[in-house]
Symmetry: C2
Subunit: 413 residues, 2 copies
């Protein structure tokens, strides 16, 4: 146990929102409010931008019951940003400003919640503060629906998105098979470089009704092979449901969604409606079949009403752990998850990783979990994802609609 460090803290949210990033916020804020060492708890408006702009909300002023509603409030309640700060060796303007703000509010703890880029930001701030001799403990809390953070078994936010995707695919599949005529349905799922989310559609197939085919960015996409796959099932069953990751790409690395599609597809002009409608149009042109493209869009990342309780609990625990570890003397680490099986039952163990090891590396779906045909998942993937989506939160409702946190957001002066 290192010496007690007394001072205030800043918490910030960064990157794309998720269904449970506010659960991590609650974990951090609640633990910080409870910690004797932390004198004041500030929430940065729009992540690091709020620090640079001196726009900080005083969390101590919030009603504890409203704060608790953060557990079930989707998106980033304090606001997010995609601002990338420079390397301190190249340009230290931002760091000087951050130091100025830290000194102004006697900030001795900085907690940052986000994905790869945010851990990079965290790491740079941590190193800078050390280099100038300003004592501040910096901790990262992971978050990303993409599930691509290195060194952690999984990321908060992924499981709830996976559950939304699986449930929605089950519902879509029910709907898409209802008529007595043929129908091909293409569902586009988020995931630019890693296919974890599209892969989660396999849960629907495993437990009832889901996609016949799933394509991930981990493998090269072949339009002819794709059309063969689709038409084979269409001829046999009259109905096909396909899930595609938005990041599927040809062997040359060009995204299917952006490329002027291959010479074989008959299409040459730019598409406006995204990947699902592009593929739908190609299939329609080739086959004459009735085809529908569906984009799950940002519904999949903010679907708090379908959140996994496991995900909420883990997201909150990660936030709390970051605070408790920092108060105990830790700095420069990200809270990560290690999977344990205790008596055959899933358990999530919290561990700490150096921030420097996490940044800028994308974890992908292992090739050995993807089937030989590159159009579906093996059971190893189901075993991996199933424990993560378990449990349903008791959602706070008002008039049978979600009751989200309503924060006062009193600005610090």
């Amino acid at each position: 146990m290192s010496e007690k460090l007394i001072g205030s803290c800043i918490f910030g949210q960064s990157g794309g929102p998720t269904a449970v990033i506010n659960a991590s916020a609650y974990g951090v804020i609640r633990a910080a409010l409870d910690a004797d060492e932390i004198t004041k708890v500030y929430g940065a408006a729009h992540g690091i931008r709020g620090v640079l702009d001196d726009k900080l909300y005083v969390m101590d002023e919030e009603d504890p019951n409203e704060l608790k509603l953060l557990l079930n409030t989707p998106s980033s309640e304090l606001g997010s940003c995609r601002y990338k700060i420079a390397d301190p060796e190249k340009d230290d303007t931002d760091y000087k400003r951050i130091l100025e703000i830290f000194k102004k509010y006697n900030v001795r703890y900085f907690f940052y919640n986000g994905g790869n880029d945010s851990m990079d930001t965290c790491n740079k701030i941590s190193r800078y503060m050390e280099s100038v001799g300003y004592e501040c403990r910096v901790m990262g809390v992971p978050k990303t629906i993409d599930n691509d953070l290195f060194g952690t078994d999984h990321c908060p936010g992924f499981a709830s998105a996976a559950k939304y995707i699986a449930t929605s695919c089950m519902e879509i599949n029910k709907d898409a098979r209802v008529y007595d005529n043929g129908m091909i349905t293409i569902v586009e799922i988020m995931g630019r470089h890693a296919g974890w989310l599209a892969a989660s559609a396999a849960l629907a197939s495993e437990f009832g009704s889901g996609p016949d085919l799933i394509y991930l960015p981990e493998t090269d996409f072949d339009m002819d092979k794709f059309l063969d796959d689709v038409m084979r099932i269409y001829k046999a069953n009259g109905k096909v449901l396909v899930a595609v990751s938005e990041g599927i790409h040809y062997a040359d690395g060009s995204f299917v969604s952006e490329a002027k599609t291959s010479a074989t597809d008959g299409f040459g002009h730019a598409q406006l409606g995204g990947l699902a409608s592009l593929l739908a149009n190609i299939i329609k042109e080739k086959s004459g079949a009735k085809v529908r493209g569906i984009e799950l869009s940002l519904l999949q990342r903010c679907g708090a009403h379908l959140a996994s309780l496991t995900d909420i609990n883990e997201a909150c625990a990660a936030g709390r752990e970051a605070v408790e570890q920092a108060v105990s003397g830790t700095t420069g680490k990200m809270v990560a998850f290690e999977r344990e099986m205790i008596d055959g039952k899933y358990n999530c163990k919290l561990v700490l990783l150096p921030l420097s090891s996490v940044a800028n590396y994308e974890k992908k779906v292992p090739m050995e979990w993807i089937n030989e045909e590159h159009n579906g998942l093996k059971h190893e993937f189901i075993d991996y994802v199933l424990p993560l989506i378990q449990g349903e939160p008791k959602l706070p409702l008002e008039h049978s609609l979600p009751r989200y946190a309503r924060l006062k957001k009193v600005l610090a002066k």
Copy 2:
């Protein structure tokens, strides 16, 4: 009480699926299995097509617990069709075939679940059977997410779709306001001729976070006025959420989604991505703002996990009522809903309407519930829709994913 009519029954589902049409199926099937007068309960595969094709499932063979799961299973479990039968005066081929099947299975009760067209089918079959002196009691059970059936306060399926739309708009709104830069989001909602569903997005605005602007097909769409509305809010707040009905149309009646948009929009070429991306592209071109188009697609009609318990209960009750009334001697009627306020509390009273009065008339959102600016709803609409979305069903789950009914579907011989 008329004389007892002993014989079997056929139940069929028709038109577009909903989150609760299977709840009506359960109401019909359970009541029919329980009725002494009904000797056998058949479910038609794909509605009237199943009758014509002699493809009937024997409901008596199903596990009662699986049947009960129909209450929370979206889409039309027996399959649907959009087959339109001819006028019996013009071509009675189909009717002769239906009579043949009715005689083969001694069918004395026919229950049909659907929208306008299905009630028309029901009515024609009823009249034909009467004209040839074959005693068969024919009853319609209403269904449509569009809520446009004449003579009933509302339609089963609408409220669950409305709840899905309102909840999703709340989530989208949270997500769309997260960054510190400007953002305009367009959500496209079903409803070709009546705007009930798009109007339901107003629930999100009323109770927390929803669209700033809502456009319905009940009024003429004016692209210049629309762009002015959007840009005014964009300039003031930096964020705009817009809900549009897929059926919005110009004053000349042409759909905005299909028309080469007006001369003022700068677009001339055909669009592939639907109305939301069309409008998004027009706004982007005009304003340079970041714009996102979202289509709720068929997710909104099959979202059983967000169904209204009130809707489920009413859908089931309508099915049960059709059977009980038929057994008691009624024929040629559709079950409809009348709204009562008892001690200020909403109550749904079941009434009967002549089938002939229902068919082929579309009920629209009253003009006096739409605001003066034609870009939002008045409180009268909220008062109308709010009681309908109340209550959450206890969803049967397996591995934290929906557990739908698994029927054996044993074919009648």
